[in-house]
């Protein structure tokens, strides 16, 4: 039984996790994502870079159907996770989102205690059998979110009382607590100091062993440090997608080159 799973893992190793074909996104009449095709591999970190407003967040939100919550948003094309179309009618977005976790651009802790924030996902998905289990999950997640040391003495203080950067790490801890297969991170480090950033990058690296991670970032250095694949978006188009090393050293498209050398932004 166990052996079979390991074999299957090996086969998956460099499999395609998410495959998007001809994705179009409209906000009312605004065409925000234009015909994007991208294949995201399992157990890799993929970075989305691009100037502000180019549609990185929008595309990221398509991957776990968070755009469903926006009335005026319309998604076309096909997005498959492990060969299953996530926009199919039979797919339950609630289950999908349990599998594809998300850290948002702005920290959004719930008005609950730090402990309850992290325990939220495990509780609704029944991941812990006992209180001790839950305590363990919470501690492990807070450690992975690089915030355990700061909050271990006040787990029952409100999460909203933390600083902006602490809140963001709390949200990361909250997202990893549900053990998602894919983790979508929208600028997770934009409010963090260099030490916390390094810790989060370490976490991303660690997560890569089991999950695939998609990270939106405005920092070229961060994209270069943590990702294996990089996608460059510009005005809703996916301009270039490839190995991170290749994108940063030898970009094929002139737009990519001007962006990473700092000429468009």
């Amino acid at each position: 039984m166990n052996d079979m799973r390991i074999v299957k893992r090996d086969v998956d190793m460099n499999d395609i996790k998410i495959s998007a074909k001809g994705v179009q996104v409209y906000y009312g009449d605004t065409h925000a994502i234009k015909d994007v095709n991208v294949e995201i591999k399992d157990k890799t970190v993929t970075a989305f870079i691009g100037p502000s407003g180019c549609g990185k967040s929008t595309f990221l939100r398509c991957l776990n159907r968070m755009n469903d919550t926006i009335d005026i948003c319309r998604v076309e094309g096909s997005i498959q996770i492990e060969g299953e179309d996530i926009y199919d009618k039979r797919v339950d977005p609630v289950q999908l989102r349990a599998k594809v976790g998300m850290v948002f651009q702005k920290p959004n802790p719930f008005p609950k205690s730090i402990y309850d924030n992290v325990a939220y996902g495990p509780r609704i998905h029944g991941l812990a059998r006992t209180k001790a289990d839950l305590d363990e999950i919470v501690e492990k997640s807070l450690r992975r979110g690089a915030i355990w040391n700061e909050v271990k003495d006040r787990l029952h203080a409100p999460g909203t009382g933390l600083s902006g950067g602490q809140q963001q790490r709390l949200c990361i801890a909250r997202a990893v607590a549900t053990e998602p297969e894919v983790l979508l991170m929208d600028e997770p480090c934009s409010a963090l100091d260099p030490i916390a950033t390094a810790q989060v990058e370490e976490l991303i690296d660690e997560l890569r062993e089991n999950f695939s991670v998609v990270i939106v970032t405005h920092s070229m250095q961060q994209a270069a440090r943590v990702s294996q694949k990089t996608a460059f978006f510009h005005l809703g188009n996916l301009v270039e997608y490839g190995e991170t090393g290749q994108i940063f050293t030898n970009p094929q498209d002139p737009r990519t080159e001007s962006y990473i050398t700092g000429r468009i932004g």
């Binding site: 702005k106 719930f110 609704i124 997202a175």
Partner: protein, 493 residues
């Protein structure tokens, strides 16, 4: 000089001042706007404010103080021997004022010359008839003392008004001159105007606060009056409410408990109906309903909130009461005989609950909508369903506001009168049975004051004690609401 004329003159002076102030400021800067310290309109406003505020303030104070002073000096003319049997000084004073007014009217209509009005004597003229001929009714025959007092009253007010006009206009003119003299390109008109506006706003706020204080004090004094003639223990702990009105004799039982019991019982029934329904309606409207449903349902609910309570009262009396009797009454659906008449705590409570639904739902809807979308996103992003998100994230975040809404609804329920009068009946009773007639504090306040009792009998004065108690209860409720809201705020903001 009439008040209206004074105000008009001061107003005109302010307008002129505004124009001159702007001109003078411009002239001092040689027509160059940039050299002025403030925008040019501020110089005008400065002059206008200095003309208006001090003079009108004096006018208002004068108008409140003058009648008091005049009354004092006229009262001095009336000796105790002049006060007729069964009358009092204050009644005589009222007569004096009426005669004085009557003389004013007579002069204004030309029925009497100015001199005749101040010289007229009761020996020669029947003043009462003459006044009646110009449409002023005086209760009793006018005695010579009353007439003389009235004439003095007229003379004093005449002079007073004259002096008042002159003083107010002088103050306005002084403000005008002073402000214009100040006006210069370096004068900080903007700062002065800003401060002036601050003072005006503070004045408005203090009037609101003072009125409230006035209401509270009048309640307190009347309540104290009541407790002087009726023992407090009997009021607060009495279990029987049986006022006997004057003429029929006998002491009254004025026990407060049956009334507050009815009030709380009916309010609780109303809240049990209104809070869940209103809250669920709000959740449906703000979280589930499509835009088109919301755009129809919300206004409809709000219209419901605008229906006068007397209409709800009729609904209770004519529809809900008979309906309940059909169910719980003698030959009703259940075959039990629990309800004898349509008026019952249940009837009033149900209808009051219906009245409160839109109140609760529209407040809660606003509060739920104010929970940031990011909070919902966070929950959905973790794979929570819609109802999990609502129960575990949105409602806790909105809770302080919802508690506030519920307590506001409770205050309204406690203060509601019309529905109770028509739906619950008038019998005060300390009963547990919701199908029995009950009555509330507010309903009894109305019936005590509209009854035929003497105004200063305990049976009437008890209304003030009832009002005061009700006031204290709603105040306490609001304080509790504030404390709860603040406590949650501290935790989660």
């Amino acid at each position: 000089m009439s008040t209206l004329l004074i105000v008009a003159l001061v107003g005109a002076l302010a307008v002129v001042g505004y124009v001159l102030g702007v001109r003078r400021a411009m002239a001092s800067a040689d027509g160059d706007l940039r050299l002025l310290h403030s925008l040019k309109s501020y110089y005008g406003q400065n002059v206008a404010l200095l003309v208006l505020v001090p003079s009108l303030l004096v006018l208002v104070i004068w108008m409140t103080v003058q009648p008091l002073l005049i009354e004092q000096s006229v009262l001095g003319m009336i000796s105790n021997t002049d006060v007729a049997e069964g009358s009092s000084r204050s009644l005589m004073m009222a007569d004096v004022r009426r005669v004085a007014d009557g003389l004013d009217v007579a002069v204004a209509q030309g029925a009497m010359s100015r001199e005749a009005a101040s010289d007229v004597r009761v020996d020669f003229t029947n003043v009462r008839e003459r006044l009646a001929s110009v449409g002023v009714a005086v209760g009793s025959t006018v005695t010579q003392t009353t007439l003389e007092a009235a004439q003095k009253f007229r003379a004093l007010s005449g002079t007073g008004n004259m002096v008042r006009g002159i003083v107010v206009l002088l103050i306005a003119a002084a403000g005008f001159g002073y402000a214009l003299k100040q006006t210069d390109k370096d004068f900080r008109a903007r700062n002065v105007v800003e401060r002036g506006i601050l003072v005006l706003l503070i004045a408005a706020a203090s009037i609101a606060v003072l009125t409230t204080l006035g209401i509270v004090f009048s309640l307190i004094f009347n309540t104290i009056d009541f407790f002087e003639s009726f023992p407090g223990a009997d009021f607060f702990f009495g279990t029987r409410w049986e006022p006997s009105f004057s003429g029929r004799g006998g002491a009254s039982d004025l026990g407060f408990l049956p009334l507050i019991w009815g009030t709380l019982y009916i309010s609780i029934i109303a809240l049990v109906v209104a809070v869940p329904l209103g809250l669920f309606a709000a959740i449906y409207l703000s979280e589930y309903a499509s835009n088109s449903v919301r755009s129809i349902a919300k206004p409809v609910l709000e219209v419901l909130a605008g229906i006068p309570t007397i209409v709800y009262g009729l609904f209770a009396l004519l529809t809900v009461g008979p309906l309940l009797v059909n169910i719980f009454g003698a030959d009703g659906l259940l075959g039990v005989n629990w309800m004898s008449g349509g008026t019952a705590a249940m009837t009033a409570g149900l209808v009051m609950g219906i009245m409160l639904i839109p109140f609760v739902s529209s407040l809660s809807d606003d509060i739920i909508n104010a929970v940031p979308q990011a909070m919902r996103d966070g929950s959905y992003g973790l794979g929570a369903t819609q109802s999990e998100t609502i129960r575990q994230v949105i409602l806790p975040a909105a809770l302080p506001g919802i508690v506030g809404a519920v307590l506001l609804a409770a205050s309204r329920a406690i203060g509601e009168t019309m529905i109770v009068v028509l739906g619950a009946g008038a019998a005060a009773s300390l009963s547990l049975n919701p199908l029995e007639a009950m009555t509330t504090v507010t309903a009894k306040i109305v019936s005590q004051l509209t009854g035929d009792g003497e105004f200063n009998s305990p049976e009437t004065m008890v209304a003030f004690a009832l009002g005061m108690t009700l006031f204290v209860i709603t105040l306490a409720l609001n304080v509790v609401a504030l404390i709860i809201v603040r406590k949650y705020r501290e935790q989660y903001d």
